[in-house]
């Protein structure tokens, strides 16, 4: 302490004062009153970029806030089906839970643009397109509530989406309620933006369009449960013969699995990076680069159950270049299961990179 009074060290006494002064501004961050202006995809000379359109937010803000509320007081549109809000928590309470657990990746409006998102690949889901990759429903249907609950409970393995099985069930329902809210809001917002970009419209007409769109989207969510895909045939036993048959199909010209996933399943096929027809790199519906799954890892993002793999093949993966292959199997629906068995066996096999007709170079023993 004596040093503080000595010549040359008198400046030290300012250290505690300055440190305290630097704390000014530390405190809870206020919730914004409205969502950030949305960006729209714009293509200039084949270059895709996202831009904010001047004044767009102001034009549609009134209508959007009336129907969906703001970040602090969200609400479902009038006439929302009861199945879209199941938990015991109100939507503002769900929003608060969302901000605690989800917002740092998925962003305030569910745009997948939270502060953690730039560090992640694959990117967190942007709910605003209403597209969800891993569902039990058909290719043009929304996910069921159970699909979203599964994603929350188990996470998405191979990505940064963690498993939230330590939350209790009502909290997970609350988060699903809010995700559906953000999703419906996002889709309605896009339609409204398209309309406003095309022509001038007064607020009441815009509101009508928005309400109609919201109703139709919510109806699709409500009916998703009717669109669950159940396997057409029961799963046959896991045998060496089944895996062999699956391998044949995998490399066949009809299915073209190997074109993307590669002959060794590593996701390095000839069409893996660039679509041979268009010459464009593979993109998903969110305009991000996407790669075919590396099947040798044994990590299945949409679930590892046999029925999950069945659904990926039968109905494709929404929003990605993984196609709906149902029609290729219409003559032999059981063949899908053989492909599933082969996919399950790939991580345990040592596949020959050269195309082989019928015999894999190493095969598992008979399952029991």
């Amino acid at each position: 302490m004596k040093v503080c009074f000595q010549k040359g060290f008198l400046w030290c006494r300012w250290i505690p004062v300055i440190s305290l002064a630097c704390l000014v501004g530390c405190g809870p961050v206020a919730l914004p009153e409205r969502y950030q202006a949305r960006e729209v995809p714009v293509t200039n000379d084949g270059e895709l970029s996202y831009q904010q359109v001047e004044g767009m937010n102001e034009q549609i803000a009134g209508v959007m806030e009336e129907i969906f509320g703001g970040p602090g007081e969200p609400k479902m549109p009038a006439g929302a089906p009861a199945s879209l809000k199941v938990s015991g928590k109100s939507l503002p309470e769900s929003a608060s839970l969302y901000r605690r657990h989800c917002v740092h990746c998925h962003g305030l409006s569910g745009a997948g643009n939270g502060p953690t998102a730039p560090f992640l690949f694959p990117k967190p889901r942007d709910y605003r397109l209403g597209l969800y990759k891993f569902t039990s429903t058909t290719a043009d249907a929304k996910p069921t509530r159970q699909d979203l609950l599964n994603t929350l409970r188990i996470g998405v393995v191979g990505t940064s989406m963690p498993a939230f099985n330590l939350l209790d069930e009502d909290e997970r329902h609350a988060l699903v309620d809010y995700v559906i809210h953000l999703s419906v809001r996002g889709e309605v917002e896009y339609v409204v933006m398209e309309v406003v970009a095309d022509e001038e419209m007064d607020e009441s007409e815009l509101r009508e369009i928005a309400v109609d769109e919201a109703s139709s989207e919510m109806a699709r969510w409500e009916n998703a449960g009717d669109m669950v895909l159940m396997p057409e045939t029961p799963e046959p036993e896991f045998t060496e013969a089944s895996v062999k048959r699956g391998h044949e199909l995998f490399v066949s010209a009809d299915l073209q699995c190997a074109a993307c996933h590669g002959y060794t399943g590593r996701g390095d096929g000839p069409s893996a990076e660039v679509n041979p027809q268009t010459g464009q790199p593979l993109l998903d519906s969110w305009s991000e680069r996407i790669a075919p799954a590396n099947l040798t890892l044994g990590l299945y993002r949409g679930g590892r159950r046999p029925v999950d793999l069945y659904r990926r093949i039968h109905q494709g993966i929404k929003g990605t270049p993984m196609p709906v292959l149902r029609s290729a199997f219409r003559n032999n629906p059981e063949d899908i299961w053989h492909v599933v068995h082969f996919v399950q066996a790939i991580p345990y096999m040592d596949l020959d990179p050269i195309v082989v007709e019928t015999t894999p170079s190493a095969s598992p023993a008979e399952g029991d």
Binding site: M1, T116, F119, I154, G155, V157, S160, P162, A163, N165, L166, M230, P231, E235, F238, G298, R304, R305, P306, V307, Y310, H341, Q344, A345, Y348, P364, A365, E366, G367, D368
Partner: protein, 283 residues
């Protein structure tokens, strides 16, 4: 004024002792309950070291306080330069050396039992009950299933002449079960687990069991524990314990929490059966 430093260090001494006293006597602030068979051994070592260092702290801090008070700077008094005090140097070398050797000997048995137990590796190794794969930022578990055998018996996947078990986990067609962030175990049984990492360093830490082991990418590290029978009361089906990551692994390290659910022996088999069914259920 010069005696102020002496008072301050005395305050530090008093506060330090009080702080530990407060922690040890307040419920929830000290060690968690001992839920495994070697938890008591670990706690014993903890307390031995705490008391040794605590007494050393009080003695040395007390000496410091006394010297600061008695020999504080005064106007007109020069400091004495002392060098080379043979017996002081002998004492302060030998005493700590003896203490350290004592600690090394005292912990040897416990360390051997936990980290070098014959059931972990070598000719007497036990079949692992589950494989634990630490991943940013979750815990993935693969269980050997009701047949007690990971994968499918007799498969030699890496062509080394023996049917290893650790790389056959989750073999398709087997009854192996996977779970995320929830480790299910039966009570009262010595269980071996194989710990791996998918990407970076993590550490498998269950405070109530006193088990902590770094997960090193590229290595398969066996660990074991046994939950004490007294953890489940009669009629209670299961009890949950916290599992946390104890090695900084990235931005989500704080979130990398799981739970260990201890079932009764029958309850555990029932859970395995249900998990296997859910896997096969096309619903």
């Amino acid at each position: 004024m010069q005696k102020l430093w002496s008072i301050l260090f005395l305050g530090l001494l008093v506060f330090g002792v009080w702080f530990f006293y407060y922690g040890m006597t307040t419920p929830g602030m000290w060690l968690p309950e001992q839920a495994s068979t070697y938890a008591n051994d670990v706690d014993y070592l903890f307390n031995v070291i705490l008391w040794i260092t605590g007494i050393a702290f009080v003695l040395t801090e007390g000496a410091l306080v006394w010297f600061l008070w008695r020999y504080h700077a005064t106007e007109g008094r020069k400091a004495t330069y002392i060098h080379h005090h043979f017996w002081a140097e002998i004492i302060w070398t030998v005493v700590p050396a003896v203490i350290l050797i004592y600690i090394a000997v005292a912990q040897y048995g416990t360390w051997n039992n936990i980290k070098r137990n014959p059931m972990l590796t070598g000719p007497e190794q036990k079949q692992a009950m589950a494989q634990i794969v630490a991943r940013q930022f979750e815990w993935r578990f693969r269980y050997a299933g009701l047949d007690g055998q990971p994968g499918v018996a007799g498969v030699d996947d890496d062509n080394n002449g023996t049917a290893d078990d650790w790389d056959e986990w989750g073999y398709p067609g087997s009854d192996d079960v996977e779970s995320v962030n929830e480790l299910h175990v039966p009570i009262g049984e010595e269980m071996v687990f194989h710990l791996r990492s998918f990407d970076v360093l993590h550490s498998f830490f269950v405070p109530d069991f006193r088990v902590k082991q770094d997960a090193v990418p590229g290595l398969v590290i066996p660990l074991w524990f046994q939950v004490l029978e007294n953890q489940l009361e009669s009629g209670q089906a299961y009890k949950d314990y916290d599992l946390i990551c104890a090695e900084l692994c990235g931005w989500g390290h704080f979130k990398m929490q799981g739970k260990v659910r201890v079932h009764t022996q029958d309850g555990f088999r029932e859970w395995l059966r249900e998990a296997e069914q859910k896997y096969r259920d096309p619903g």
